[in-house]
Amino acid sequence: MADNGDDDNQYRIKEGDYVVLKRGEIFKAVQIQPRKKVIFEKQWIFLDNAVGQLYSTTFEILSGGNLKPNELKDSASPLDAVEAGTDNRNIVDDGKSQKLTRDDIEALKEKGLKGQDIIKKLVDNHATFGDKTEYSQVKYIKKKKKKYENTVMILKPSCRILAMMYHGREPGKICHLRYDTLAQMLTLANIHAGSKVLVFETCAGLVLGSIMERMGGYGSVIQMYPGGGPVRAGVESFGFPAHFHDTLHEFPICHVNALLAGTLDTSAKDPTAENTHEKQLNLAAEKEQNQPEAEEQGTPEEESMETNTGDDAGQDVEKMEKDKLKEAKAQVKKLRLEEKQRRLAATAALLKGRNADGLVIASRFHPCPVLLGLLKFLSPSRPFVVYSQYIEPLIECFKKLRECGGTVNLRLTDTWMRHYQVLPDRTHPLLLMSGGGGYLLSGTTVATDHSKPAGSKQAEEPAPKRQKLEDTEG
């Protein structure tokens, strides 16, 4: 494969790459590290052999956990094509339908039969498989696949894959933000290269990373973060080139009022003097980061260090990481605080003009004060979008925005998503669907008319089409 002579190099898996493991609908984001054990679907895997292979290759997991490129594709398996009985009227379930015994199966495994082949054998030896309803067939195959399949595909990460992964594996970490809802957010906020976007999220960095992907390293993203430090595990998983991180800035929301009032002190101070305040922040951060990072990715503190420290401090950090000595940590903290202050000043400068091009909010905080506070940093005629798992807080946002003025084009929406099975004579919507994908409030800022009081009705939609706000008749 190496002698294709085209630009394959960019598609090859390299050491240190952030990749996504895939089996069926199961995804997992990991980093390729030498002799590092990775658990995937209850199996130990070493990814070393993937290095140098092309992305999207399917590997067989050998005993011992090493990978071997597989000729068989993980895609639509021939099993899906088994003819289904559309009714199970002939089935008498006596528990004797499977003719292969446990021992038979073990023997097959020892003979080195691959998972997919074992399942095929199980199906072939199932007396009444063809009579099962399609639903039962799918259930059966899924169960067996989980048990016997031992292949894994290695993918290059993308917003699509990571959003599906988080939604499937750890929806609690991303406020149950469904991937189609995230898709709406990116589009409604008109995220694109060259703009200056404000993000407030507690979605493990998934939203932030998705925005950075869409900006392609052009423009700036300012992460407004609560507590002691920004959470960015999800951003790492995107595996962006280094220069993308130059476009990423962060600002603690606890300084928002000071910044708005013009009283924010961004001069570099002796960090020890700041200590008590910072300590408080860090305590708060620990409390608030009740979103544990992905298994392989260390503690939140290491995380933000990796991201926050520039090249200048990089070597020190590496050394200290190995030592993990308490004294060293204090030194790191000091460096970090200095760096933080420098960055704070830089970000404050970016925000001061109140001329951001977009605002995206997706957090476990009440969106109303967040939105009203951060909206002030946007230029007129710029989109914003707020996600919430619940509709009620967005209803409140909607009402407040109508009262305050300064926005038009307000919409409170959700999306309904349905997947289909398309097979000859067996086409139908999937039997299971996601219950809800959360709600979005979106709108566009406009210039506020200072000649009128902010609470004036005039600031809302033009009169002729004013929405009926009161309705007692129902």
Binding site: D87, H176, N257, H366, P369, L372, R418, T427, P429, G436
Partner: protein
């Protein structure tokens, strides 16, 4: 007790429903002297059930629950699955769209586990009749037995035959026909024969769109009118109280009226009543195709 008439007290020979928890209900045949094991411990029918009021609380060694009067809807949740069954959301819509009411004569195939049958019987009692056809012999026998236990056997005739070959066994009597079989198009002609000369309503339930397409074609060929296909899905909302923290934007040096209206300094939070949808829910049961048989 009967599935078509309420009683106040549990009697020997009744079928009662133990309501253990949401989505966990268990039918029990009440018999003098019998015992039933539940996850909350043993219940003794003679003392715990017989003579008690339906709706009473029964306390066992490891917990308690309520005994409920059977209804077709509780039965749908409790019944032993011998096939895939129709659930209440589809059943409710079918009942209305077939215009079922006391006195209706209905044909059904297949009977399956009898989930829909019980709901039909409830609605057409005391003067209607259900002719239900089941291909599978054991199932036909089992469901006939259940009808007897549920004291609705006087309202129903169970036939063990192939509806596509042998039809419903009745001619010109049905107000409504329901089909839940793999190839409903093969039974449309038989349905027409079973229906009243003046006309009536038909419903066919199919999971796949290709089945719907063939069925609609057959219905049109047989002169059925007002053919329409509908899907109904239930969404169950989980009621919960959630607490949303308020952001801390720091001390507000200006304290103007404009600044951050709801921001509270001490990590305050707002509690609200809301609902969430389950992460996964039934996304499809089947397509319901309805049609009217005109006067023939």
């Amino acid at each position: 007790m009967s599935f078509v008439e309420y009683s106040d007290f549990i009697q020997d020979g009744d079928v009662a429903i133990l309501y253990l928890s949401h989505n966990n209900v268990m039918p029990v045949k009440v018999q003098q002297g019998a015992q039933t094991q539940t996850r909350y411990g043993v219940i003794r029918h003679s003392t715990d059930l017989i003579g008690q009021r339906y709706g009473s609380k029964v306390t066992c060694s490891k917990g308690w629950f309520h005994v409920l009067h059977p209804t077709p809807e509780l039965w749908t949740v409790a019944l032993p699955h011998r096939t895939q069954i129709l659930y209440t959301t589809d059943i409710a819509f079918i009942t209305m769209m077939l215009e079922l009411k006391p006195g209706s004569i209905v044909c059904e195939s297949g009977t399956g586990s009898g989930s829909l049958s019980h709901a039909i019987l409830r609605t057409i009692a005391p003067t209607g009749h259900l002719h239900t056809v089941e291909f599978h012999q054991q199932r036909a026998e089992k469901v006939a037995e259940e009808f007897k236990e549920h004291r609705v056997d006087h309202l129903v005739t169970v036939r063990n035959q192939d509806v596509c070959k042998d039809g419903f066994g009745v001619t010109g009597v049905a107000d409504a026909v329901f089909l839940d079989i793999p190839s409903p198009w093969d039974a449309v002609g038989h349905a027409k024969v079973a229906m009243k000369k003046h006309g009536g309503r038909l419903c066919s339930f199919s999971p796949c769109i290709e089945q719907v397409q063939k069925t609609c074609e057959a219905l049109q060929d047989q002169g059925f009118e007002d053919i329409s296909t509908t899907e109904v899905l239930l969404r169950e909302h989980d009621v919960r109280t959630v607490s949303l923290p308020l952001p801390d934007f720091g001390p507000d040096p200006e304290t103007t009226e404009e600044a951050t209206p709801a921001a509270a300094p001490n990590h305050a939070s707002i509690t609200l009543k809301t609902t969430t949808l389950p992460r996964e829910m039934p996304g499809h049961t089947g397509y319901l195709t309805f049609a009217t048989k005109p006067r023939t």
